[in-house]
Symmetry: C3
Subunit: 653 residues, 3 copies
Amino acid sequence: MLGVCYYPEHWPEKQWQQDAQEMRELGLKYVRIGEFAWSKIEPKAGKYDFAWLDKAIATLAAEGLQVVMCTPTATPPKWLIDQYPDILPVDINTGVTRGFGSRRHYDFSSPNYFTQAMRISKVLAKRYGNHPSICGWQTDNEIACHDTTHSGSLAAKHAFQLWCQQQYGSINTLNQAWGNIFWSMEYQDFSQIELPILAVTETNPAHQLAYRRFSSDQVVHFHDEMIKIIRQYAPNRFVTHNFIPLVDTQTDNFALAKNLDFVSYDNYPLGRSDMFFKHMPAEQYKPYMRTGHPDFSSYSFDQSRGVSQGNFWVMEQQPGPVNWAHHNPRPEKGMVRLWSWQAFAHGADCVCYFRWRQVPFAQEQMHAGIKRNDNSKAAAWHEVSQMRDELTQVQLPLEQPVQAKVAIVTGAHSQWVTEIERQGDSYNHQRVEFAYYSALRQLGVAVDFISVDHDLSLYQLIVAPCLPVVSAEFVAKCQQATAHLVFGPRSGAKTPELSLVDNLGPGLLQQLIPIKVLSTETIRPDCSEVMTYQTQQFSSQCWREEIELGAGVTTVAQYHDLLPAVARYNNTSYIASLTCDEFLISYFSSLCAEQGINTITLPKDVRLVQRGQYAFVFNYAGKANSIPATLSGEFVLGSATLAPYDVAIIKLP
Amino acid sequence: MLGVCYYPEHWPEKQWQQDAQEMRELGLKYVRIGEFAWSKIEPKAGKYDFAWLDKAIATLAAEGLQVVMCTPTATPPKWLIDQYPDILPVDINTGVTRGFGSRRHYDFSSPNYFTQAMRISKVLAKRYGNHPSICGWQTDNEIACHDTTHSGSLAAKHAFQLWCQQQYGSINTLNQAWGNIFWSMEYQDFSQIELPILAVTETNPAHQLAYRRFSSDQVVHFHDEMIKIIRQYAPNRFVTHNFIPLVDTQTDNFALAKNLDFVSYDNYPLGRSDMFFKHMPAEQYKPYMRTGHPDFSSYSFDQSRGVSQGNFWVMEQQPGPVNWAHHNPRPEKGMVRLWSWQAFAHGADCVCYFRWRQVPFAQEQMHAGIKRNDNSKAAAWHEVSQMRDELTQVQLPLEQPVQAKVAIVTGAHSQWVTEIERQGDSYNHQRVEFAYYSALRQLGVAVDFISVDHDLSLYQLIVAPCLPVVSAEFVAKCQQATAHLVFGPRSGAKTPELSLVDNLGPGLLQQLIPIKVLSTETIRPDCSEVMTYQTQQFSSQCWREEIELGAGVTTVAQYHDLLPAVARYNNTSYIASLTCDEFLISYFSSLCAEQGINTITLPKDVRLVQRGQYAFVFNYAGKANSIPATLSGEFVLGSATLAPYDVAIIKLP
Amino acid sequence: MLGVCYYPEHWPEKQWQQDAQEMRELGLKYVRIGEFAWSKIEPKAGKYDFAWLDKAIATLAAEGLQVVMCTPTATPPKWLIDQYPDILPVDINTGVTRGFGSRRHYDFSSPNYFTQAMRISKVLAKRYGNHPSICGWQTDNEIACHDTTHSGSLAAKHAFQLWCQQQYGSINTLNQAWGNIFWSMEYQDFSQIELPILAVTETNPAHQLAYRRFSSDQVVHFHDEMIKIIRQYAPNRFVTHNFIPLVDTQTDNFALAKNLDFVSYDNYPLGRSDMFFKHMPAEQYKPYMRTGHPDFSSYSFDQSRGVSQGNFWVMEQQPGPVNWAHHNPRPEKGMVRLWSWQAFAHGADCVCYFRWRQVPFAQEQMHAGIKRNDNSKAAAWHEVSQMRDELTQVQLPLEQPVQAKVAIVTGAHSQWVTEIERQGDSYNHQRVEFAYYSALRQLGVAVDFISVDHDLSLYQLIVAPCLPVVSAEFVAKCQQATAHLVFGPRSGAKTPELSLVDNLGPGLLQQLIPIKVLSTETIRPDCSEVMTYQTQQFSSQCWREEIELGAGVTTVAQYHDLLPAVARYNNTSYIASLTCDEFLISYFSSLCAEQGINTITLPKDVRLVQRGQYAFVFNYAGKANSIPATLSGEFVLGSATLAPYDVAIIKLP
């Protein structure tokens, strides 16, 4: 299914009908509306104007379009801010209030905003909950975007004190848990607790972690309450939320998604690539500047599917240049189609494009749409149109993605711990995880992102690039697993309160592989060292642990000084260093072979994924590539020779 | 004419007479005084001390020197700040008040400061307005320096609200004009309007533009009122202001200059080059580190002449190393003379050196003077002395600069629009304009900087490196012009309220060249691509527009993918990309030939400009260079072989 | 002697006895305790708990260990902050209060904190002053760490106003001294004086210097008062303080040390190297990333000995990776021993390791100890154990270091002047001083760091890398000296109030060498130029002065333009530029030969120093090196071939 994001309030009413008709003709089925329209719906406190919205919905409905309605809580109007100035959040890096004038100017801990946000949600849900053309709801918009999960307000401080009281019961328990004896940081009462910001030097990591958990809980609570309201008044409609990249929510995404019907994702491969790969040298970056890295979109798709615990939507798909990255190239011709097919291949049920028409005014006027602001058809129109036609070539609805045999264990907690305690500036949680993911994808294997709570029995290879905190339950599950388990450096090294484990790293994982981390060092990124694996030289970078091997543990790879860098014990491997991608590919390839997981040698920049009966092949290269002959079946789309930026779909025998 | 900046209040009275005598002997005619002397003139509120100033003026006058008197409003004294603390401006990036202790610590929107600044101006103008030795006045000092045009104060907010009311009349008009419906940014009342600062994320570009226009208006209003006071009490004296580089005033410079008799400019080629070219690799930068780029001073001179609508002064000329850049080299021997002659050649009527004697104390003690602080003669003395002698070689006063056949269209509005909406980090308005200017200067052609209100009929080639907003009046004038018109990327793309034009870029310019900008992308600076022009390869960089050509439009240059990069229709060209300097030189050369504008092939680092009957040739190179034989005439100064950093003046036949 | 830093409050009481026993077995004699234990000692205002501390001391004493007790004033508890919120300091760069949650959250100008800090010091001193197992006291902890010398609080402003009044007597004297006439910065009353922070642009350098002197005086006053209290109640105990690198205290270290018995130093060669050399290219940095630069630790040791006016302690010696640098490598095997011996060789009386056991919680959990947090023995254990054994090979106590024949003149005033007035971004006081020091050390000569008040007659070569302010007394002493005197650029150029000297640089030093600094320029670091000395080419970098030579002055080295770069007159040399290390080595080598100072040609990365009858040789290289045959004597430790990271001790004949 295809859809689009639409803002009737930006356009004259007389335009709406033609828009709706063209949407239908373009094969779009879903139209998302309303997420920033609070001031139009309620121009003054308690004075509602629904006439325009009723009409807009009716106009769309008349063309058979289904509407996804949003709560408009990402943009409280000025009159509301003036009424309750404590809605505004406070910058945790400067202590300065973040003012009105853009979006997301609200504090998750403001009791006034909580009340008001739920009020407007209820008003909307009551009015439109049973509307026959409204198929589902989106909560708020891109929660946490612009670093809004954390606030340094008084409201946040008071809420944090309360949260601490609920978590720890007594102040001595908290002091003990955080290790406040260190540097005389002991509190005598919960009301003394500060936010871990603006201190003279680094605050207690346990304090920081608690603040992150608290902030995440605030977001989830706000969001869950909104879901509850929608469900109460809009029965039998789906509720979803459009996530930004999971690393950026600073929220426990599994918890945030829990009460949703499914997760939606806003996919902007070029803008995000510009920022994520900004330190990459031009010769490496330039080939992907108009495509994104071949594994970058699918990384988010697979994560979204994981958090969604099933299929997902792309709620916003970049249709052309955007306006918000450091540099904003246009997609290569064909890429909007490629990303769309890639989303479906990795488990999307629907791809909606953002936005129908480029808006001529305000902050996003340089953001492309399917149509240009003069109503002409932009480049994306033709690719969406091609999608409409090609979707008829496959049997819909698509079956579920094939059950992956490989899983990556992920979670906000791991991210927070390693962001709070980088230990070396060059340790970046997201880059570490992405490197592991990309290595697996280059081998052509499907990857699931799972939490520690997931069923491990489904997998033959389970990889935890970074899992500093492990529980006894998780270890017990690992012991039952038939998979080979791979743990990256730092795994098992920390308690849930961000202390060192008693028995040295990898802590409880010593039950899986009897090794001890004797010391840990971090290294300048430009001072990497040789690592040897099966007579080949790779590199050890940035993070390096010294490990002691227990009886029966074998050395898989060695540092330059011949100490063990990768160790293995039965079906568990421990990688004690950050390594180059080439090592990961090589080692995973060997483990897959051992575990009976099929890998495939793909041309550079070609990626393969299977969904149901179909194999999808994507060519991210600017030159033609041949699909390996081992991939046999009927070409539903394309042929064995992939043009640049082209897609092939093969119906498997 | 030559002059100097002098601070009698910094030196014992007994020194003054010798100073004045030496000034006269050095051939100086003008002495600027008083611009920071408020606390000396009015040590306590309402208690004036003019005795010292009277005597200083008399001492200078006794040697036949003419005094340029300043209003001392750039440095309100501490007692005044303590009396009216709201004088202090507020940093728009941090919200923190910018305190006393340096200079320019005042808010253009403070009603108290307005009153006080006009009061002291009136006091001075009344006392010295008819003094026979005071030939003219300088208002304030380097208005806007240190980013003081914009303030985040309450006073600024209230003044901005009033300004909005006056501009838009009704709040709905404002909402409409800014597109506030986007993100529910609608206001219900002018009193709700915030400054576009310290928000959660990017504020509305229209809001930002309004704030810049408002801030500029505040500066102009303050300045105009001061001019009015001076004119009232100081009849028949010129009034000028010493401008910093025009890009840095963040003010409509044409408006700021309008009521002045002429513009003055403070010329610091080395300090400014150190900052402007700081990202330039050493091998490119080092040859110019003690000279400045060959087009850098003249860029400011030509701009000053443009804003002045005629000749200008250099009020402060760097005489040696300064103290405020990241690195502060000394000028190569001869450069002070070269810059001085270059100023005259580009339309200066007077060059004043900053400062007479290096001051031993406070912020600028490392700033060179004509004399050292021990009263010995610094390097500049000998070059000024040479200027004094050489000025007798030419007929004074110099005639006007030759009427240029080439104009560059410039204006604060274009700068603001492209600073507010960079779209790519690598788009820099000033660098774009400088590149166009430098290309033209390397062809040896004279260049005028004009506003869109200028008479276009004077020119054969009119270049708008960046003109996002165009009016119907301007287009009509273009249609009448006999010049070839060249527009750089972004031209015509925006409405005056910083929205997209309805009919795609270049908007109204489509009446001159029927093309449409279909999409715009920005690119990392290290990812440039090939552009082909007349079988030669150049480069397309940073900014690239996709254009559709209407009937009759020809492709002048092509992108790597063969799409049009430069288009032409009759006498209008549109350059859709940021290109390398080499392309601009090549294309402008061809257009000049076509338009009958003489160009000349000059050795690298040699520049030529004509004023009246004289051709001036400047050698910025560290080696000797030959003047092209085609330049015939009588050598008033120098010869056909230019020594390093030397000047030649040729009286044309 | 060896010692250790221990935190009984971090561990269960039942652990203490074993810890104490192991300390004794490891050869440790001293145990430092208590410096962050305020909240444990006084959990509520006026409620003391000494039981645990009594027991901890008793447990240590029972094993024959001597305790160094600390005042816990670096970490005021939360209840105290809540009682007196004005204890918190204010960030001078942002104006924001620096909150509770880490350490050093106090303002040296807070009268409340002064009272409270002295109170708790007195309480402790009274209780433990005569304890037989407490041999000495440490004041506070790492005073000034985390940029806490300067505060922008109201308390600081008021104290500064008072300080100014005491310094200058009348406001006119202050105005005159600072040159406040410049930019109308004159004050009418001391109560008007602002801190030199958060102004529109650069504040008056004289104002800044006064503020630095004031801030230093505040620290010294606070510290001296604490010493006085300790001495009153703890007779016959030593009092010391653990200094951070002297450049970072922003305090007059000679004054701060004056009333101590000796100085202690906290030595973290790897963390500090990571930060100090962060701009060094990898190929230069990598060889030292696990050792530190060969001259880096000794630079601090020699400075500490200088400030101590005799021997010193290392109170905290890095035993493994730390947690606070940008990257935190482990020391190469052997380096903990090497650094320890190096400390002794340069004048340490005791080396204490930080810390006994890695703490599992809070901010420093990733900081290594002698033992790991699981109580196993970390790498350092074995090296300390080796130290214990090897110390028996030499005769204890070690004699004094040999009297150096070479001195470097240093002082906070020079640092402040050149930090306030960098003039070029690439001038860095510490790097300049380190370069001079390192050049001398590579020649194998011993170096003393002395203040201008020191006896100069002890030296044959006296080097002032940067001494902008000189007094007549100092010059008179220089005139008496038999040493050759070398002055780096900027020397003698400033008055004590940071103005230019009347007679041009080097000011009073013209009595030693009749030259004049005509102009000064600063240059981009990547634009260095050739400098010629004895037909060899070296480089002139970053800072370059033009000098005029008086009669009899000879040119030692020349710039690329043949102007003098280094000048000499009798026994005084003036280096007018920042040069490369190679020039310094070459020139110092020649001067040493002339002055009869023995130099020695050492292999790269090998260093030599003598203490009493012993010569110590250190190999910082990753390969074996031979000790020069000229070094004859009995090998007490090691042999003529030094293994990587090894030490040799030779008993001289």
